[in-house]
Amino acid sequence: MTEKELIGKVQELRQIKPRKDWVLSNKVSLLGEDTGFTFFPYFKPALAGLVSVFVLFGLFGFSQNSVPGSFLYSIKKITEKSQSFFVSDEGKTDFAFNLADKRMEELTRIAGNNQVKNLPQAITEVQASISEAVKNLSSSDQKDLEKLAELGKNKQIAEQILAAQIDSEELDNAYMNLTESLIQDLETRTLTEEKQEILIQMKELFELGDYQQALELYLVNQQ
């Protein structure tokens, strides 16, 4: 065998190769992971975008249980603000009442947990949400009247838990204006004796400044 032939035979040994699956599995076990993929894809724009979306959804989800004064509360407010853009004009009153109910629920949670330092912000939030909810109510819309009455009841419950009054000039004015309009409307109608009696009681309550009671009296007798 010549030297050239021998070298040729030796070079044929280049065909010796490890199994591909072993090469890969050994690399993974050595370096802990396939280095082609990094768990934190900060530098991969597409994946980074996807992760951001997940993080945002996660934050929005967690923020829904937050209360005024907590870290995620501002995110919750932003979420609600964003949702309000997608609400139709007809649905805006319902949406505002739901928010007012939420604010009062938050307030009662804070009061129940004795989170005293969060109370002022929670009360401010309740007042602002009530103010927003009672805008543009109409005495001729039975649903508006029912919602107003329900809001008033919820506010009373919150006040009982809080053991303090929540001042809301807008709510008081709404009660006054709507009840006044209602009474004026009833006076123009022909009423049964029973209804006339109710109207008289409503007027008395109105004179005493108990607008809420006057409205509830009307609603109870409507059913």
């Binding site: 070298i7 030796v10 190769k17 090469v23 050994n26 050595l30």
Partner: protein
């Protein structure tokens, strides 16, 4: 650390075949070659983590592999060769008869090569298989280029003599 992993991953991809072949030719067993090769890269990775400024990764890995093979033979006397059927040689040739003849020649060369002195084996593998130049081998072994050239000639001569003595190549 993630960056080190990525860099060492590249070294792994570049040298895994060469280191595996270097070990396999010496131990003639797929299992042992895999074990020693894994250990080579594990030791390499552990060193690399502490000092990533390795000037010559090739020399670094060959040195580890060489020491591991020496340790292997120190611990366990070499008593067996793996039969040609179990040796995973990837052959691109399509003709079965040619394949059989080729594989048979390869196995014989491998057996003869494995019987050479360790220094001679390394010379043959590095120069004719891994295509390292004489200066590169000199750097790897810490010898002068002249001394390396002489050793390479002796290694080839020794291999040729052994092949000529082998029944397979003379028949």
């Amino acid at each position: 650390m993630a960056n080190y992993k990525k860099e060492f991953g590249k070294i792994y991809d570049q040298y895994i075949n060469k280191i595996y072949r270097f070990i396999f030719v010496k131990v003639s067993s797929e299992d042992i070659a895999q074990d020693l090769c894994s250990e080579t890269f594990l030791k390499g990775w552990e060193s690399y983590k502490n000092n990533p400024n390795i000037e010559n990764p090739s020399a670094f890995l060959y040195r580890i592999a060489r020491n591991l093979v020496i340790d292997h033979y120190r611990q366990k006397a070499r008593t067996q060769f793996v039969s040609p059927e179990t040796v995973p040689i990837i052959d691109p040739s399509q003709r079965i008869e040619e394949n059989a003849a080729l594989n048979s020649d390869m196995d014989q060369v491998k057996i003869v090569l494995a019987d050479l002195k360790e220094d001679y084996q390394n010379m043959i593998i590095w120069h004719y298989l891994d295509q390292l130049s004489v200066p590169e081998i000199a750097k790897l072994t810490g010898k002068t280029e002249d001394a390396t050239r002489v050793k390479l000639c002796r290694a080839l001569k020794s291999l040729r003599e052994r092949c000529n003595k082998s029944d397979h190549f003379t028949s």
